[in-house]
Symmetry: C2
Subunit: 253 residues, 2 copies
Amino acid sequence: MVRVVYFEKEPIIDTRPLARKLGAFVTLSTAELDVLERLYKRKRTFLAGHDLVHQGQEDQACYILLSGWACSYKLLHDGQRQIVDFQIPGDFLGLRSVVLHVSDHSIEPVTDIEVTEVYAFDLLDVFAKTPRLATAVLWTASRDEAMVVEHLVGIGRRGAAERIAHFLLELCARLTLVGMGSKAGYACPLNQYLIADAIGLSAVHVNRVLRQLREHGMVTFRNGYVTFDNYDRTVAFADFEVSYLDQSMPLLK
Amino acid sequence: MVRVVYFEKEPIIDTRPLARKLGAFVTLSTAELDVLERLYKRKRTFLAGHDLVHQGQEDQACYILLSGWACSYKLLHDGQRQIVDFQIPGDFLGLRSVVLHVSDHSIEPVTDIEVTEVYAFDLLDVFAKTPRLATAVLWTASRDEAMVVEHLVGIGRRGAAERIAHFLLELCARLTLVGMGSKAGYACPLNQYLIADAIGLSAVHVNRVLRQLREHGMVTFRNGYVTFDNYDRTVAFADFEVSYLDQSMPLLK
DNA sequence: CCGTTTTGCTGATCTATATCAGTGGGATGC
DNA sequence: GCATCCCACTGATATAGATCAGCAAAACGG
């Protein structure tokens, strides 16, 4: 069997992924780029499975993910956990924690990750000096909220198979935006337990449903790779609408 | 049976609920209050059951709820709907729609409502002139997101009874913040179908669970009133943590 | 004022998903 | 080279909640 190559080009891990991300929203002046530049004070590395942020922690800093995958989750008193979202390169980690001053969730690297640390003070300074960037960050936060809302709808109203298909499609769309995937598929470091915790199912059931999706010729998730055997059929099956991930509609000139 | 009176004082329906809300977060200067004042251009009324905002609509304006209740929801292709959240006086309606330029959800008044219309342009103008207000609005959005996340956890991991109890407690906490409820209870215009759509259950099951909660002496929901027969026990049962609704931790001096 | 609609409520049955209890393979450590 | 652990995978059984079908009382519309 031929090993499919998923990256036509090298993954776009910009040295300043936030600039790239916000640049999709506002056209940044050199002054604004300058302000952003100063945010990149400290590069740090975290190991897979060791939390960066703990539920209840009072945060002074948030992070911008440079490489690797992370997840944000909440623990219940009975030990169950709900993964709220996965983060991929270019995403904020813990932005909400900084704004609300206390973290309502924990963040765990799924793989080893590299991040840039951004201090709360510097972020507020950016807002004060460059209101357009403040609006851009609000846009980022809104987009994240839109994703959480979509997850809510999935867990609340979609069946297990539709939910998993939708989940894999959303990851595909997000990874494609940063050059780490295509409609053919993508490399995915998640295991079935992580997926189960994210979509509110048991790992056993995730396994069964993944088999069904594979047998119905829609998606195959195996050996760390997600392959779409029939992308369009999967989209139709999952009732997947990309619009909530759209980055192509700048509000500011 | 004695009709319990729930309001020790008149509900605080500030004529400028946004100023009140944001004032809990930042101390507003008179200049900033002035800018806010200019947002209140147009007062409008919408009737119960007639959507203000439709999924897919490209929005030029959002609203601040002055009186009445509304809900934001998403429709699935098969006609099911998931209510994402309910809005009470002082809340933004459709802020995300304006920032993302297109609405990913619909908004329907649950009762007749009064709102102030805020144009996108004016909102952006506020951000540009008063960055502290931009930060404050980001804080508002983050708080909303924290609530959605909490709903996600509920639907994903909590049993039906815990979920409903949690839901009723969250509404209580939010209403108390605007003077429309207390630990004794509150007036609640929702019916069991709306609750079902919000927490991802069937209306039939909502009814059964409400009966259980009543019979176990925790909460009673009847005739448009929610009464906590034993508030502390309900909190313990639902594993309810108020912290994510906290307004008492200003980030800016 | 009476018919219609809405809402709360209930029993009976069905089904999606959880839970329990395992197997086997591949990596990792000693 | 063997023991250990993690992860994918499976069958059998249990259960939470959905669905179906219906009643009664309150609200509403003409």
